[in-house]
């Protein structure tokens, strides 16, 4: 057994928060009474792999070498977990015991969980791992068939294998034929969305939703119970352009890390709904277990807070920083993990305690004091994150009749197209994926190509008390979005006027 090395090396990886660490596995087989030990701060899911590996080797026609089997996983100072090391360990054992040929100058990467019959299964976090593994220059890369979607997201080159036998065959006569994975178009776009024409008779809300999509503006909808606030969020997701390839991968990686191979690969933008009983850990993420929160999960999509008035003010204030910075940070053991949270925040709530404030007639039972107290639940700094305010009244009988009279014409696709065009205008103006709501230059007026006249008109409106001083910038941003959406190069006074209407809230 001349080719039998003392130590075989193989690579695998594990996800840690938002990134992945590639680890080197060293396997040594030395003669003696059979033992099996795994070292390198491994948790019990890795140590239990002994049983899986032994059974899988047998099922695939190999055998566990007789002697001491020692596997060291580096970096040895980092805690590791997960059953994704199984395949690498099994292949390493076969290398070390000479059951398959091993060349020490050949870098091999393998991951996947083994089942007792030898088949290979994917494990959560694959998208993150493959992203890293793809750029490390491995000659042989073996991944489970389950992780095909993750591989497609990362634009990765390697080989999907069904079971251990297939994995070993690439080192033999069959040879290694890598496959180039890419996200061509197969990412399915999902279920039917509510059409925007359902908002007939609620022109202000309709426009607010369109502008929110067009400029990625945060929005607050205040309306009576039953005025269709939740529907508004669904409509918004229907007019947003689909995720591009990079974004799809990013979003998938996050969901895959949570749900494993069951996660859906889709170009639909995520919509996350949160309710007032949400805990800070669920909202921002848990640093101990490194699970992303709702804000991170809504990245590139919509975070919809229903009944926003019922949220504890501490929870709302926790959102302030992430909304401003467009990312969530978690701290653990002195390391900062950053999840990006580039999202549209949509809040919906009642305008007063009884909810009837905007209804015609005098159906509201709240006194002025009650109402004021109710509205102060939203703190000033939080409101500063909101670009668009719109009130919603409940739909009357006539509106319902109108709504169902000419139901045939779906308007959402046309709006979506216009929004897409509007995004392109913004991205080419600012460079990169930056929108009117998020651009942060030293000189806003210059970057947005606003004329002197527009600026003075805006300050004139502010001086008349149509919006606050801090609303000034927001108004300009929104006016720019309106002009972009309508395809105008210059912002007009009418655009500023319209933007002012969406700032005209009495909070």
């Amino acid at each position: 057994m001349s080719s039998k090395p003392s130590v075989a090396r193989i690579y695998s990886g594990f996800a840690r928060g938002t990134d992945c660490v590639i680890s080197e596995l060293e396997v040594s087989v030395t003669p003696g009474i059979p033992t099996f030990s795994v070292i390198g701060l491994c948790d019990s899911s890795i140590r239990e792999s002994h049983g899986r590996i032994m059974s899988a080797l047998r099922s695939s026609g190999f055998s566990m070498p007789k002697g001491h089997v020692t596997i060291s996983i580096s970096p040895a100072y980092m805690k590791k977990s997960g059953s994704g090391f199984d395949l690498a360990m099994a292949v390493g054992i076969l290398f070390a015991s000479g059951q398959i040929p091993y060349k020490s100058d050949r870098k091999t990467y393998a991951e996947g969980e083994l089942s007792l019959d030898g088949s290979v299964k994917g494990t959560p976090g694959a998208a993150l791992r493959l992203n890293k593994a793809g750029s490390e220059g491995f000659q042989y890369v073996l991944i489970p068939e389950d992780e095909r979607n993750s591989a497609r997201c990362t634009g990765f080159e390697g080989r999907c294998v069904k079971d251990l036998a297939e994995a070993c065959s690439v080192f033999g006569l069959a040879g290694y034929v890598p496959e180039r994975f890419s996200l061509d178009k197969g990412s399915e776009s999902g279920e039917l969305k509510t059409d925007i024409s359902m908002l007939k008779g609620q022109e202000k809300t309709k426009r607010a939703i369109i502008l929110s999509a067009a400029g990625f503006h945060n929005m607050l909808l205040m309306g009576s119970p039953g005025s269709g606030k939740t529907m508004a969020a669904k409509i918004l997701s229907g007019i947003l352009p689909p995720l591009d390839k990079g974004e799809t991968g990013e979003v998938y990686a996050l969901y895959e890390a949570l749900e494993g191979p069951a996660a859906k690969l889709s170009s639909d933008r995520p919509v996350r709904c949160i309710s007032p009983d949400i805990t800070p850990g669920k909202l921002l993420g848990n640093a101990m277990s490194m699970t992303p929160g709702e804000m991170a999960l809504a990245n590139h999509g919509i975070l919809f807070a229903d009944e926003i008035m019922e949220f504890p003010s501490q929870v709302l204030d926790l959102m302030r920083k992430p909304l401003e910075e467009r990312e969530v940070r978690l701290f653990r053991n002195g390391i900062t993990y950053t999840y990006s949270a580039d999202l549209i925040f949509v809040g919906a709530g009642n305008p007063c305690k009884c909810g009837m404030f905007y209804e015609p007639g005098s159906r509201c039972r709240c006194s002025a004091g009650t109402r004021k107290r109710y509205l102060t639940r939203l703190s000033g700094p939080f409101l500063e994150r909101i670009d668009i305010f719109s009130e919603m009244r409940s739909i009357g009988k006539d509106d319902l009749a109108l709504m169902y009279a000419d139901k045939g014409s779906a308007e959402s696709p046309a709006v979506k197209e216009k929004v897409e065009r509007c995004w392109k205008i913004q991205n080419s103006r600012y460079g990169g994926k930056i929108f009117n709501s998020s651009v942060n230059p030293a000189d806003l007026a210059d970057a947005m190509e606003l004329s002197k006249d527009i600026l003075s008109y805006c300050s004139e409106l502010a001086s008349k008390g149509l919006f606050s001083a801090r609303g000034y910038q927001k108004t300009l941003r929104l006016a720019r979005t309106i002009a972009d959406y309508e395809g105008r190069a210059d912002v007009t006074r009418a655009d500023v006027s319209e933007a002012a209407v969406f700032r005209a809230h009495e909070l």
């Binding site: 202000k204 809300t205 009130e391 409106l461 008349k464 009418a494 009495e506």
Partner: protein, 414 residues
């Protein structure tokens, strides 16, 4: 200023009624027999020889009264001259039923005076018809509670362009006028004596303010002292001019109850401010409530009642609502604009692109006249795209013609 011939005849008509035995019954008989066509013809009638009185074919009593008039023609003319002299001195305007500005509410009822003597902004009479009016009446020595409510309601209504009508008495009347003057100044005081006669004298300062910012009217000629017997008739006018009546506080035998019953007889709603049952001065008001008047607890009910009255007037008497003398600085469409508005509306239906911004603004203001609306309702009723309406609304807001309150757009009245 001097009076025109027609106005002189108005004075003459009043002089006849005030100084001879001729009364409304005689006047009605003269109308029925076709002897006169308008009240101004009385002046011509006076020229006829007394031998012709027989030919008028009046009833014996009326004939006697007319003879009395013919005998005291000199006295009548002297009185007429005196009235006009005082009228010129105080700048008193005469509004008769032949004027377009004569209140529509008076036209719709019988027994209202043909001639009114006014001091102040007569265009308020027009506004009364177009934007509604509310009579606010009550006790002269009202409780703090009633005065508080009076102030709150009056200032709210006047800020919405509704005219506050009252009698310039002490207590509730005074508070109502004051609250209205603080705001838009849309207030009308109806006096029992001549319009130049300040009664009660304690209200001299208030009178001055009403004359400058509001309007004082009376059916009595200038110089006439307010006599006891004139007050019920004055109360009838208060109820008659307004679209509904608010009784803030009334004792068991209060004159306020007259106003309320006149209003009820004229088919107008009476709202009564509920009060403490152990409070003696509230008994009259509580009795009214027992008789089925509306409870005054929210301004919305009153506004609904007023806007219904306006809509009814517009629908049933469109020709009466038209007036050439749309006055004032107000840009809100007055009745004279109705035809113009209809033309614009027609144009907006056919080809909305031809409608200018000013015309749209006029339409928006017209929509907001009766009640405040949210932006969605405006969009729907005008069939105007959202981005157009926002620009128009902001411009209206900038020029101070429209305000946003409670999420709805409302006209300002300042």
């Amino acid at each position: 200023m001097d009076y025109k011939d027609g106005e002189m005849r108005d004075f003459y008509y009043t002089a006849v009624l005030m100084n001879t035995q001729v009364d409304y019954r005689v006047i009605r008989e003269l109308f029925e027999r076709g002897d006169i066509e308008t009240h101004r013809d009385l002046y011509g009638l006076a020229k006829m020889p007394s031998s012709k009185i027989k030919e008028l074919l009046l009833s014996p009593q009326s004939e006697r009264k007319v003879r009395d008039w013919m005998e005291s023609k000199g006295k009548v003319e002297a009185a007429c001259g005196e009235y006009m002299q005082l009228g010129r001195q105080y700048g008193i305007k005469v509004v008769s039923s032949l004027n377009r500005i004569y209140p529509v509410n008076f036209r719709l009822q019988t027994g209202m005076p043909k001639v009114l003597y006014c001091r102040g902004r007569t265009e308020l009479l027009n506004q009364c018809s177009n934007q509604g009016s509310v009579a606010v009446v009550g006790s002269r020595n009202a409780s703090g509670y009633a005065l508080y409510a009076t102030e709150r309601f009056s200032s709210e209504f006047s800020s919405k362009g509704i005219t506050i009508v009252s009698g310039m008495a002490l207590g509730v009347d005074r508070k109502a006028h004051e609250a209205a003057l603080q705001g838009s100044g849309n207030t009308i005081a109806i006096l029992a004596g001549g319009p130049d006669n300040v009664y009660p004298p304690e209200n001299a300062e208030l009178y001055k303010q009403i004359v400058s910012k509001g309007l004082v009217i009376s059916e009595m000629p200038p110089g006439q002292q307010p006599l006891r017997q004139y007050f019920p008739s004055r109360n009838r006018l208060i109820a008659g001019l307004s679209d509904c009546t608010l009784v803030m506080e009334a004792g068991a035998y209060s004159g306020t109850l007259h106003t309320a019953s006149f209003a009820a007889v004229q088919g107008k709603e009476v709202f009564v401010l509920p009060n403490n049952i152990y409070f003696a001065n509230a008994e009259g008001g509580l009795k009214l409530l027992e008789d089925g008047c509306c409870v005054l607890y929210s301004s919305d009910n009153v506004i609904d009642s007023v806007s219904q009255a306006i809509v009814r007037r517009r629908l049933e008497y469109p020709d009466l609502m038209e007036s050439e003398e749309s006055g004032g600085k107000r840009t809100v469409p007055e009745a004279s604009n109705r035809e113009k508005l209809d033309i614009i509306r027609l144009k907006a239906d056919k080809n909305p692109d031809d409608v200018s911004d000013e015309e749209w603004e006029a339409l928006i203001e017209d929509e907001l006249t009766v009640k405040s609306l949210d932006i969605d309702s405006l969009c729907n009723s005008l069939c105007l795209p959202f981005y157009r309406i926002t620009d128009l609304l902001i411009r209206l807001q900038m020029s101070g013609r429209v305000v946003l309150e409670n999420g709805k757009y409302a006209l300002t009245f300042r």
